[in-house]
């Protein structure tokens, strides 16, 4: 169960990374914020709306084609067609998935489905975007693209909340929430997390790769 003494705040333009071991309640926290359950002390304006991408992107597919999947959330929110088309172009270009637009969702690989559903989430008009381990099936260049998209939205005043197992992602967030056994134990700024990271032995993907390369006798 999620319980919290910390005051957690979602504010416009802030990018938050939720880190913690498997089973510590990251997904539950995001679902709480999205409004699936009440009574969680997260501070957000009463009228705020949120778009949630769940951890398994397959649960949220509703259309057959990628293009329809991306148009649906906007049609649903009555976004004018021309604007909707421009939004799709913008988001798919940043993520580099324009070539997938005419494919059927069933023919996509796991990672591609994840990309499409990230795009669909960002195309849903909302104040906050909550993404549950959106990078689990993405390679580093695509993770970088995801962060460019998140930054783009943060600059427009949206709040972005990303959960992850990969600590590397702290570089693209303003705040890191460290979770443990169902509670947010600490809220650190990016700079504070950067200092604390090595002290506490939190390894990033880059650390792992470089350490192993050294063991193998590489120079990098």
């Amino acid at each position: 169960m999620i319980e919290d003494k910390q005051k957690l705040q979602l504010s416009p333009g802030k990018r938050i990374l939720i880190l913690g071991p498997s089973g510590c309640g990251k997904s539950s926290l995001l679902k709480h914020i999205a409004g699936f359950d009440s009574g969680i002390p997260v501070e957000a304006p009463q009228s705020a709306s949120a778009a949630l991408l769940m951890q398994n992107p397959f649960y949220q597919i509703i259309m057959q084609d990628v293009r329809e999947e991306l148009s649906f959330p906007q049609k649903n929110a009555a976004v004018p067609p021309r604007e909707a088309e421009a939004n799709i172009t913008g988001v798919t270009e940043i993520l580099g998935i324009r070539r997938l637009l005419d494919r059927e969702v069933a023919t996509l690989s796991f990672g591609e489905v994840q990309l499409v559903m990230i795009a669909a989430t960002f195309l849903t008009p909302a104040d906050a975007y909550l993404l549950d381990e959106p990078s689990s099936h993405l390679d580093p260049p695509l993770i970088a693209a995801l962060h460019r998209l998140a930054q783009n939205y943060a600059e427009k005043g949206k709040c972005i909340c990303i959960s992850s197992q990969i600590a590397d992602e702290y570089r693209c967030c303003d705040e890191v929430w460290l979770m443990e056994r169902g509670a947010v134990k600490e809220v650190l700024s990016r700079e504070a997390f950067h200092r604390e990271r090595l002290k506490r032995g939190i390894l990033t993907e880059g650390d792992l790769i470089r350490r192993r390369l050294r063991e193998l006798g590489g120079t990098q």
Binding site: S22, F58, G111, H137, D139, L208, R212
Partner: protein, 229 residues
Amino acid sequence: MKILPFNYRIAKEKVLQNTTAMDLSAWNCVGVLGPVGSGKSLLIKLLADMQLRDLGAFSEYSFCAYLSQDLTQLFTGNTPQSILELYADTRYTVGKHFDRGLFDRYARRMRIEGLLEENRRLLTYSEGERQRLGICLAAAVKAKVCILDEPTTALDTESRMELYRIIADIRKRARIFMISHRLADCLYVCDYLILMEDLHIRDHYPLQEIIEKADILSYYLPQSEDEDV
């Protein structure tokens, strides 16, 4: 263990292909690395599919241990105990190869005993817990070939290191094919690499050679790392 040249039509304008024959018999743990959508899972599924014996690879083996990319796609609505019953059922091929004692040992190492005791429906567990259950199941099947499809997604660093040790165990008795989009996984466990790109096998070489491949290293190393120690 060979992979022969092949062309396999998946959809209208999508063909998975390999142009050169490769012999993998000298290698114990082969990693398949490639960008998203490059055909990694598909390649291994094709090679493991017994109907496509012409492709070479696994034709000498009739049964593989397999960790799928999403356990819930195989077992919707099941509980861990009911899946274990299924795996232990000797009427099926998997039952003849499944070692329950081994599974329990791996379950302790991956810290999922609590999950087995609670025995809730699979969908109610977190992705990482499901993934760890899937790893223990696949690791406890004593087949000659073990296929691991993205075994480290949703795992934290600690579980990942334990997984690397478990894979080292499996290597002693089986050939491993591991699919991953994370370079660290391949560096830690594999001795041979197949690089996929755009639905074809771009390259393949022993792991040691990757140290000299600057383009691959720069592609798979997370960006903006220079500020670190």
